[in-house]
């Protein structure tokens, strides 16, 4: 006997997805289109990709690029954000630059990335880094700034030096906000990699889409690539959300609907 929450969590979304696929199939059939693929043709396309051995290679290449750029953004972004949040003068100095650089789409950097790194792994990595870096910095900075002064006062009262205060009070107090920034940054990184792969490299899911269109207008493979991107993005976001349930940060997410 499925409970109400089982229905809401599993059956409802699956049912909706099935409905969308059914409408898609129906629309293709009714319109007699020969260009846009039916769900079955997309499935056949996925099988063909797997058969050619490129499916997992492309998925792996895209994930590897995201991992590299995102890791660099995380390693540099968190300390930078903590420093900006802690030192008011540093924030005053850098904030205008950050706020100006932030709305520039990472894709606008593409010509420069190719100029500097050529058609190589480093070019998409750089774009992913740019896309992920700013949300992480801003989240860490705001996280530090919104640490209640009471926590700082208590930490000082127990005789903590500034490095200890940062490690034992400021960082854990800001961690929930930092995690939100990390999750947003991961979503952006996954969007940027696809776009970057359309131009700068010759593998990956972005390359799959652009190559399938250019070489023979294989729209079944285009849509297959899009679906793969969506599913992997969903998995990444779910994994990132898992982190928010850790006991040391759960306090920061109370009152939020799962």
């Amino acid at each position: 006997m499925p409970t109400r929450s089982d229905v809401e969590r599993v059956l409802l979304p699956l049912g909706t997805a099935a409905l969308v696929v059914a409408l898609w199939a129906l629309a293709v059939r009714l319109s007699h289109t020969t260009v846009f693929p039916s769900p079955l043709r997309v499935l056949a396309g996925l099988q063909e990709l797997a058969g050619r051995g490129v499916l997992w290679r492309y998925v792996g290449d895209s994930l590897r690029r995201v991992a590299a750029g995102y890791f660099l953004a995380l390693v540099l972004g968190i300390p930078a954000g903590l420093a900006l949040g802690w030192h008011r003068s540093l924030a005053s100095a850098f904030n205008p630059v950050i706020q100006m650089a932030r709305p520039i789409s990472p894709l606008a950097w593409m010509p420069l990335a190719i100029l500097w790194f050529g058609v190589s792994e480093a070019a998409p990595g750089f774009l992913i880094f740019l896309g992920a870096f700013f949300p992480i910095v801003v989240a860490a900075m705001n996280g530090v700034r919104s640490v209640p002064s009471m926590y700082l006062q208590a930490g000082r009262n127990f005789g903590l030096s500034t490095p200890r205060l940062l490690a034992r009070v400021v960082f854990p107090a800001a961690l929930p906000q930092i995690l939100v920034g990390l999750r947003i940054a991961l979503g952006i990184a996954w969007i940027v990699v696809v776009a970057a792969e359309m131009i700068a490299v010759d593998s990956g899911l972005g390359y799959l889409i652009i190559d399938s269109r250019n070489a023979g207008k294989r729209y079944d493979l285009v849509v297959a690539g899009m679906l793969l991107i969506g599913v992997i993005g969903l998995v990444l976001d779910t994994l990132a959300r898992r982190l928010e349930r850790l006991r040391t940060v759960r306090w920061g997410f109370q009152g939020e609907a799962a």
Partner: protein, 252 residues
């Protein structure tokens, strides 16, 4: 001859600059607190009594005047004197044990563990050692904060309206708990409150503050032994005296 004061506040004034205008919050406050004494600082909300406590605790610097503790000028916060906030001051990312052990980073593992266990027991949080604050009630969080403060074995505790956010029943329980803990751990206590009954129930002496700029209107000795009978004529007499001193009518 009176013994030297544990805490000595000498002619302390405090002015804040807001929007270009200087606002005087405290005006020449002088107060001596003896070692082991429980002093309540009583006054209406926003009168500046918390500011006074923050100055004595070393978190704010007085505009003029000085604060001596054990004859030494207060230069800043010090683990020998711990400030207890309303229960919001506990660290939500640490368990009960983690919070109680927070200030014990200089101790070895064994002594640290023993101290934590001792104070968890003293405040009655056994069985919740690995719980996180959001799993505790308001009263339990307040016990936790008191345990965290006591664990570093301070001489002085500063409590800033610690029970203000609790419901009235829990507040009564926490008052008798505080008195019980105080019998076990002899500390000098400065306790800020706007609750007249609270001050008569807890304090050896009640310092009545005026509204801004806060000055000491009167210091009242609470000459009753513990446990105090809340319907005793003397209790009611003292409460009425404080009511009158604060400037409130006796009827609602």
């Amino acid at each position: 001859m009176t013994p030297p004061a544990k805490v000595s506040v000498k002619d302390v004034s405090m002015r804040f600059a807001t929007d270009g205008a200087a606002i005087e919050v405290l005006s020449s406050v002088s107060l001596d607190v003896a070692d082991g004494e429980f002093v309540c600082i009583l006054g209406p909300s926003g009168c500046g009594k918390s500011t006074l406590l923050n100055i004595v605790g070393g978190f704010l610097k007085a505009s003029t005047g000085s604060v001596l503790i054990d004859g030494q000028g207060v230069a800043g916060p010090d683990p020998r004197r711990i400030f207890v906030f309303q229960e919001r001051g506990v660290f939500p990312w640490l368990t009960v044990n983690g919070n109680v052990g927070f200030g014990l980073f200089a101790l070895g593992e064994k002594e640290r563990t023993e101290r934590i266990a001792h104070y968890v027991k003293l405040v009655g949080l056994e069985g919740f050692e690995n719980a996180y604050p959001q799993e505790l009630s308001g009263g339990m969080k307040q016990r936790l904060e008191v345990a965290r403060a006591l664990a570093v074995n301070p001489d002085v505790l500063f409590l800033d309206e610690p029970f203000g956010a609790l419901d009235s029943i829990t507040r009564l329980v926490m008052r008798s708990e505080l008195l019980r803990i105080r019998r076990a751990e002899k500390k000098t206590i400065l306790f800020v409150t706007h609750d007249i009954d609270e001050s008569v129930q807890l304090a050896d002496r009640v310092v009545v503050m005026s509204t801004r700029p806060a000055t000491i209107r009167r210091i009242v000795d609470i000459d009753m032994s513990h446990p105090r009978d809340l319907s005793a004529p003397r209790y009611i007499e003292l409460r009425d005296l404080l009511l009158g001193e604060i400037g409130l009518a006796h009827q609602v």
